[in-house]
């Protein structure tokens, strides 16, 4: 029997394919339904749902202490901003005050996480355009950061370290020296990446004028992270509404005006320098003191009635949590809003129209889309 829809597509001269759910464009499962005219995309529709695990409801059914182990799973490549958001939200609801040392350690963890997330992005961006060397190097150097995470937190990817009231463990002996040595190594190596990737004529050809975001839409649609900074708009939660000790640290918010994938790549490259700069300040100024304030037992830890909204800047943009307590040990409501939800729907669908099929993974990676956080 003839399929009328199929016939119409043949008559149009377009074909429909599913790009994904597994492909090099994103870290996770998400597919794009693409209508193609030859190699050119005429319509793109985002399909998510492959990773839905109901994080928000799982968290609402566990005590505040138990739930902190779930939040890191909301984003695989960079779990720590979720831990920070959750811990800070619980602290604001319960009226807890954390020590200066815990704040500095948290900033250190967040910046190490940003750095490793940018390396992972670099590996993905290199892979999506067929660059063979950068993915190998970047994943290797990310592993050196994960080695330090392993020593500090006991885990390489899911750290479960930033905890309501502080952090879970104190720094191991000699950790700051090892971090300082690693920063020296990474800083020495970054110019090599410039030579083979960021200044590479082939890479520029692939990334320039691809995935161009309109600057006036960037603010109206709520884009964040390298996407909005790649449009020349210096928005960064760390600077606009500082948390922890970011107001005491010196760092720049890098911007580019190209609005394309190359501009976003340069923003991320400059952010790696800034993260190293922040980490050096944190290492030099690390105060002594307690790492954790006293918490009640987990069944007796009741969250007072009230609500809070917290934001943390991740490598891919602003992570926001809305949390409400109701005098019980459970959260009444938790809502997670990651940067990818607008990047994957509002931005990506129109951005792909007119693009080439070979640029789909490139554009998705350039926007830093992370499906698990869309399907929280």
């Amino acid at each position: 029997m003839n399929d009328p829809v199929q016939d119409q597509r043949v008559a149009d001269g377009t074909i429909k394919i599913f790009h994904g759910p597994q492909h090099p464009g994103v870290t996770g499962n998400m597919s794009m339904e693409l209508d193609l005219d030859g190699e050119t995309i005429v319509k793109a529709t985002t399909h998510v749902g492959y990773l839905h695990r109901g994080f928000e409801k799982m968290i609402e059914r566990r005590t505040a202490i138990q739930a902190f182990t779930i939040v890191c799973r909301i984003c695989v490549p960079e779990p720590d901003p979720n831990e920070e958001n959750f811990a800070r939200g619980i602290e604001e609801l319960a009226g807890l005050t954390i020590s200066e040392r815990a704040k500095y350690i948290r900033v250190m963890v967040l910046e190490m996480a940003r750095l490793q997330a940018h390396y992972l992005w670099m590996a993905g961006q290199g892979g999506s355009i067929g660059h063979e060397v950068v993915p190998q190097w970047a994943v290797g150097e990310r592993d050196f950061i994960l080695d330090l995470f392993e020593q500090l937190t006991g885990g390489r990817v899911y750290h479960m370290y930033i905890y309501p009231g502080g952090v879970k463990r104190d720094l191991p002996d000699g950790f700051l020296d090892r971090l300082r040595d690693l920063l020296d190594t990474l800083e020495r190596r970054l110019p090599e990446y410039d030579r083979i990737f960021f200044d590479n004529a082939g890479v520029k050809k692939r990334l320039q004028n691809v995935g161009v975001v309109k600057r006036d839409e960037a603010i109206a649609n709520g884009y964040t992270g390298p996407v909005i900074r790649g449009c020349g708009i210096p928005r960064d939660v760390r600077r606009d509404s500082p948390y922890l000790v970011y107001d005491q640290l010196e760092f720049d918010v890098p911007t580019q005006t190209g609005c394309d994938a190359y501009a976003r790549a340069l923003v991320r490259r400059a952010e790696m320098d800034q993260s190293i700069r922040i980490l050096r300040q944190v290492v030099d100024r690390m105060p002594a003191g307690e790492i954790q304030c006293k918490l009640p037992k987990h069944r007796k830890f009741k969250l007072p009635r009230g609500e809070t909204f917290v934001q943390t800047e991740s490598a891919r943009g602003a992570f926001s949590y809305y949390m409400a307590g109701d005098d019980s040990e459970y959260l009444r409501r938790l809502q997670v809003r990651g940067p990818s939800i607008v990047h994957a729907y509002t931005l990506l669908e129109p951005l792909l129209v007119g693009a080439q099929l070979s640029d789909v993974a490139l554009i998705m990676n350039s926007l830093g889309i992370c499906p698990p956080e869309i399907e929280r």
């Binding site: 392993e150 006991g154 899911y158 083979i196 200044d199 004529a201 082939g202 520029k204």
Partner: protein, 130 residues
């Protein structure tokens, strides 16, 4: 439209060739193995002479991965319940909350983390008595 040749951008990437004569960072596994990391969250250990069988670890486990089962062998005389934790590694997420709430510090995590078995039932793991 004029075509400007980016000579620097064309030549510079070949500088990566110098790394082809350098030693690799990777380990020749399994001949070489990486060192255990102190504090790594691996398998559970439970010192039976200290465990009081309180069940705090079972209570806090958000994955319901811990069952309190009859102890085999010599146990702490203060263990009134006679029960000790057994971990289901099909459920455990190695968060370490169970070790945090352990009053006598009998339950801990060791660095060892490699386990393979064809028998899914063997993932119900009795922590080593150490």
């Amino acid at each position: 439209m004029a075509w400007n040749i980016d000579l620097k951008g064309l030549i510079q990437p070949f500088s990566a060739l110098k790394f082809s004569v350098k030693q690799p960072y990777t380990l020749n596994y399994p001949v070489e193995k990486r060192q255990d990391v102190e504090g790594y969250r691996g398998f559970h250990l439970n010192t039976l002479s200290l465990c009081v069988g309180c069940g705090n670890c079972q209570d806090i486990c958000m994955n319901e991965a811990i069952d309190m089962v009859e102890a085999v062998g010599e146990i702490n005389p203060k263990n009134a319940s006679g029960l000790v934790p057994r971990i289901d590694y099909g459920r455990c997420c190695w968060c370490g909350l169970c070790t945090d709430v352990c009053g006598p510090d009998s339950l801990r995590l060791e660095s060892d983390c490699i386990y393979a078995s064809e028998d899914a039932g063997s993932f119900l793991y009795m922590p080593k008595d150490q």
